[in-house]
Symmetry: C2
Subunit: 339 residues, 2 copies
DNA sequence: ATTAGCACTCCACTCCAACGAGTGCTAACA
DNA sequence: TGTTAGCACTCGTTGGAGTGGAGTGCTAAT
């Protein structure tokens, strides 16, 4: 579709623009070592590329900047993955060779490394409950009618919440139920837990039907996931160094989005496995219409666990970020909690 | 020290400045209903107030703005606490009359309400471990040499972390130790836990000295607090609406601070009980030299538990924020988890 | 097909004058 | 003696004119 020369010129323009954040003119391209044509020739090609929708002109007599479509073509066909230096590689790996850490901490660290290395904002989505199974369940009475319900998963993740104990329940009934619960439901995926609970309970405890109701309500309450503490942000201030955010209003709309957990979760939902690049308006959220989001899912022991995303301006260094995310994904696989 | 008239004028200037964020001139003060002097007279007083250090002039021929000292005097002597409307009161209270929530959520909600109502940024510090006691301790094996250690406190707070089990320990030894641990140390304040552990253990288990070592190391590991997930921010974007932050660089230094948990914790450490107003450079951190931080400690059942802080520009609405924090503190006392 | 040359466009920057808000001072006044 | 009117002065802000420069599109020459 594009001639070799057009590809070369497009790629040069985008590379330049990523570095400088300023419209790229024909002269500066021609001065590069890898393009040996005169500015005039390049101008002709640039006009063609603009007609094809790969470039844009902020105004007559300015240079060209890439359009969304231009970035897309660049990412799909032209971009060179930037080599990751040994230093960076070691920095990433060192976090995983150290002592075992709590899952949430690993994730938080992951977010931090990535934002530091890229100078963009990183957003990490923790383990999805879909892929976790029950390891252990427990109720710790607090006194009064309150208790803490604790759910430990096979990945070492711990969920806890405070529940109210129905007044008509005896302590030993509860203990018995918890024991039963652990016996029968250990190893069941979290998502199936509730339905399995009701079916098993109906079978086994049918005879005490009326007493069970309060108990079931209690367990139901304990298993309803309360919060999604699965989202970690890091390096949000990095984005402020980008020239496209020298205007406070733009910062505000972006940060409002970052503060709104549900909106972020929606952004991350329905992402495919593996690496995904969403450029500008390809993200269906107005606030990041001039941002790009690069996401990668990560896995432990082949089980998909979460998603890590790097958010930067559309003019972000795709090659570098994609390479780093690649290393990162493979490093996380080294980690095997609970084994 | 200040004459009645000087107080009236100072207070008018500060009120005006808080509203407008612009230097206040003599004419605009004189036009207010409550000051019945001519601009000239007011100018004289303003000159005096400037000499005394309560006002500043950005440049000749601009109006006056309050100095740190001026704000301090205002807060200590002049400010009127703004009445909290019934609507606001209800909004605050409604959060506590609802169903019992997990502690962390209550705190997060608290932060959100306060930032919404004030349009400033709120920072909430969760329960301090100093004032919590052990309710229940448990180890849940994950398979391999890993286990999750769970500590439940009397306030319903749950701490958990992944630990490595020393290879020379038998399962039943551990179970026994945990039982012993719960028997002897339940009710002991978290801060004393470690020393009590070692003294009790030395006494009781002296005879198995060598086996105990691995076990003690395990418990020690489990009790070392790993993360401080006690800090919640809300409404960080609110500060962007303030005209003093129209410059991105200022936003950046402030947000860098907000992103750095340890620095924030330092800011909050060594705060006295009750309400505290820190104006501008009274906070010993450069990044908030032109911000004010109003903090209040809150308590449950008379036990001091945490701190809530409102961060805004020095030109913040002290009267309103202080009133709201007052209501807030007393509302939280209604809450009684674990009773 | 490529390139040199040239006229043209448009932004960014600087300079400057006009403006206005506010001050300090002085003299008049109650 | 305290208060106020008047006035000259200061200084930041605003808007318009002028200028330089980067970059383009077109044309004609190679």
């Amino acid at each position: 579709m594009l001639t070799e020369r057009q590809q070369l010129i497009l790629s040069s323009i985008i590379d330049d623009y990523i570095r400088s954040a300023e419209p790229v003119g024909s002269r500066s391209i021609s001065k590069r070592g890898d393009v040996s044509f005169s500015p005039a020739t390049i101008r002709n090609e640039m006009a063609d590329l603009e007609e094809l929708g790969f470039l844009e002109q902020p105004h007559t007599s300015a240079g060209r900047i890439p359009s969304i479509r231009g970035y897309r073509y660049y990412v799909d066909h032209l971009m060179k993955r930037e080599a990751v230096t040994d230093n960076e590689l070691n920095a990433i790996r060192s976090f995983f060779t150290g002592r075992m850490m709590e899952m949430e901490q690993v994730i938080q660290h992951a977010a931090m490394i990535m934002s530091n290395m890229t100078n963009y904002t990183s957003i990490v989505l923790g383990p999805d409950s879909v892929n976790q199974a029950l390891k252990h369940f427990q109720l710790v009475p607090l006194g009064g009618d309150k208790a803490v319900a604790i759910v430990v998963t096979n990945t070492g993740h711990v969920e806890n919440r405070t529940v109210t104990i129905p007044p008509d329940l005896e302590m030993n009934e509860i203990e018995q139920a918890v024991r039963f619960f652990n016996d029968k439901l250990s190893g069941v995926p979290l998502t199936r837990l509730k339905s399995r609970l009701f079916s098993e309970a109906g079978e086994e405890m049918g005879r005490y039907a009326d007493q069970c109701e309060g108990l079931l309500r209690l367990l139901d309450q304990a298993l309803t996931p309360e919060h999604d503490g699965r989202l970690f942000l890091s390096g949000t201030t990095n984005i402020l160094t980008q020239p496209e955010f020298k205007d406070v209003d733009k910062v505000k709309t972006l940060f409002s989005l970052l503060e709104e957990t549900p909106a972020l979760l929606r952004l991350f939902s329905s992402l495919p496995q593996g690496l995904q690049v969403r450029i500008g308006t390809e993200n269906d959220h107005e606030a990041i219409a001039n941002c790009s989001l690069i996401t990668a899912t990560y896995a432990i022991d082949g089980q998909p666990l979460g998603t890590i995303g790097i958010l930067g301006p559309t003019r972000m260094d795709y090659g570098r970020v994609i390479s780093l995310l690649g290393v990162f994904g493979s490093s996380l696989q080294l980690l095997r909690p609970g084994q």
